[in-house]
């Protein structure tokens, strides 16, 4: 009797059997867009149920390395995907499905009058960056270095969210995050574009995993994400097609 409540792995499966489930681990910065992508995908493929697992790319990679029963991995950077590939967790080859550009985030009304990367050297401003070990921090430093700006950093935030929170609260005058983050942050935040020459590009790889329970459905989902339909949704959320 009770066995019907659990699938063969013992994990809790509330959906009726017979339906394919795709477990997608996606980076935190993909939260909003993947929610929409999955519902689009589900309505196009009624037999498939997409379950999303959002966390930092590193945490997701960690789970995969520890044998989590995940079908698809969408990372916010290449290095975490690379680690998964090296550990033999990836079926086939990862594909880049989206790109993202950096933007300067300032509090609404731009009270500190920030205009570009040069302002990051102004010591009277409260400046924040992501920590260099996460993609947004790495890329931001790359962009600043390209311009020869030595930023006077007041806060090194462990992730985009923490950085945005502080800019939004007015604790920081400016920070560098992704365009997509600023686009969908609250009204309390404004974005300042970087000239394309100054910008650096972040790449988002996706892959089906060797551990996948429903490899076919997983492949379908990955294919969908790379499709034109999905790309236009990604575009709406500020991502750039690869």
């Amino acid at each position: 009797e009770s066995s019907s409540e659990y699938d063969s792995t013992g994990s809790f499966a509330p959906t009726p059997s017979g339906e394919d489930q795709v477990l997608v681990s996606a980076a935190t910065s993909l939260t909003a867009v993947f929610a929409e992508l999955s519902s689009e995908f589900e309505s196009a493929n009624p037999g498939i149920d997409v379950v999303l697992n959002f966390a930092g790319s590193t945490a997701l990679r960690e789970q995969i390395l520890e044998g989590a029963p995940i079908d698809v991995f969408a990372s916010a950077d290449r290095s975490n995907m690379q680690r998964a590939v090296e550990s033999g967790e990836v079926e086939g080859r990862p594909e880049i499905f989206a790109r993202n550009v950096l933007q300067i985030a300032v509090s609404a009304g731009n009270p500190a009058d920030v205009t570009g990367l040069d302002d990051f050297a102004r010591s009277e401003l409260l400046i924040g960056l992501c920590i260099s070990t996460v993609p947004c921090g790495e890329l931001a430093r790359e962009a600043l270095a390209k311009e020869g700006v030595t930023p006077s950093i007041d806060s090194v935030e462990p992730n985009v969210r923490a950085l945005l929170t502080k800019v939004e609260a007015g604790e920081l005058d400016a920070g560098i995050t992704y365009l997509t983050d600023v686009l969908f942050a609250s009204d309390a935040i404004e974005g300042i574009d970087l000239p394309s020459g100054q910008n650096v590009i972040a790449e988002y790889p996706i892959a089906v995993l060797t551990n996948a329970r429903s490899p076919a459905a997983a492949a379908m989902f990955m294919k969908f994400v790379l499709s034109g339909e999905a790309q236009s949704i990604l575009h709406e959320y500020g991502f750039i097609s690869p």
Binding site: T9, G10, S11, Q63, L65, E66, A68, P69
Partner: protein, 266 residues
């Protein structure tokens, strides 16, 4: 009670105490006000009925209560052993119990993965023999919550047991009560307020658990996504929703804590 005396000891409280106590209270009230100030009250009802929030609420309530129950069943005996039994290595055991308190929850979750994941120390063999898989299931959520929350119960109850004079337990034994009966009818009732405080702490910690859960059990809506995880997701996509979900958590916990404590105290 009509014949209750006005308590004399408590008639007037020393000024210094009141001042310090109020300062303490400010500590809690000001940030709460800060939060309340930003709550998008209009949107809250809608959010409350969204599938994601309902799923998360259900999971949170189940997992936190289960974790509290498990902690009670195995944590209270552990506390009793720590307080009353003599065995070698007690100091070490006591310290181990305290570890989950200190370990950053994310590391705690990683430790759980290392130990109970499919490739883990215990989880690996377990998975091969029984096919059981802890992570990414409700069991994983409960396990993670129990791991981080149980120490609160153990430590609170152990403290209370140290406070309790053993003479009543001895008297009960002399009346023929078995060791077990003494614990059930004398020891536990006599430390009830501390036990309930410990349960409240445990439940609250389990209910608010995030780091270990997201690492060990994942963040699957309807399966392992509890309210704090929903808040995390919402923080990325919809800031107001995150604050609103937090207020739901606050509200639920008020109900549970009041039920747990004010009903059984006094």
């Amino acid at each position: 009670m009509p014949f209750q005396q006005r308590s004399i000891t408590t008639g007037r409280s020393p000024i210094l105490l009141v001042v310090l106590g109020l300062t303490g209270l400010t500590f809690f009230v000001v940030p709460l006000l800060g939060l309340l100030w930003r709550v998008p009250w209009k949107r809250t009802p809608d959010l409350l009925t969204s599938q994601m929030v309902l799923d998360a609420l259900r999971l949170s309530v189940i997992a936190s209560l289960a974790a509290t129950a498990i902690s009670c069943v195995i944590g209270v005996p552990l506390a009793w052993l720590l307080a009353r039994a003599e065995f070698p290595g007690k100091a070490i055991v006591r310290s181990i119990v305290t570890l989950p308190l200190v370990l950053p929850p994310v590391v705690g979750g990683t430790a759980l993965l290392f130990a109970l994941g499919r490739r883990g120390l215990v989880g690996g063999p377990l998975n091969q023999v029984t096919g059981l898989l802890m992570p990414f299931s409700l069991w994983g959520v409960i396990l993670a919550a129990t791991f981080v929350a149980m120490p609160f119960l153990v430590i609170t109850v152990e403290g209370a047991l140290h406070n309790l004079d053993e003479k009543h337990e001895r008297a009960a034994a002399s009346l023929g009560a078995s060791r077990w009966m003494v614990i059930r009818r004398i020891t536990v009732p006599m430390i009830a307020p501390s036990l309930i405080a410990g349960l409240a702490l445990t439940w609250a910690r389990a209910f608010g658990e995030f780091g270990a859960t997201v690492t060990f059990a994942g963040n699957l809506q309807g399966r392992t996504q509890t309210l704090p995880l929903a808040v995390f997701v919402a923080l990325e996509s919809d800031r107001d929703a995150a604050v609103a979900i937090s207020m739901i958590m606050v509200f639920v916990s008020l109900i549970v804590l009041i039920a747990l404590r004010d009903r059984w105290w006094r």
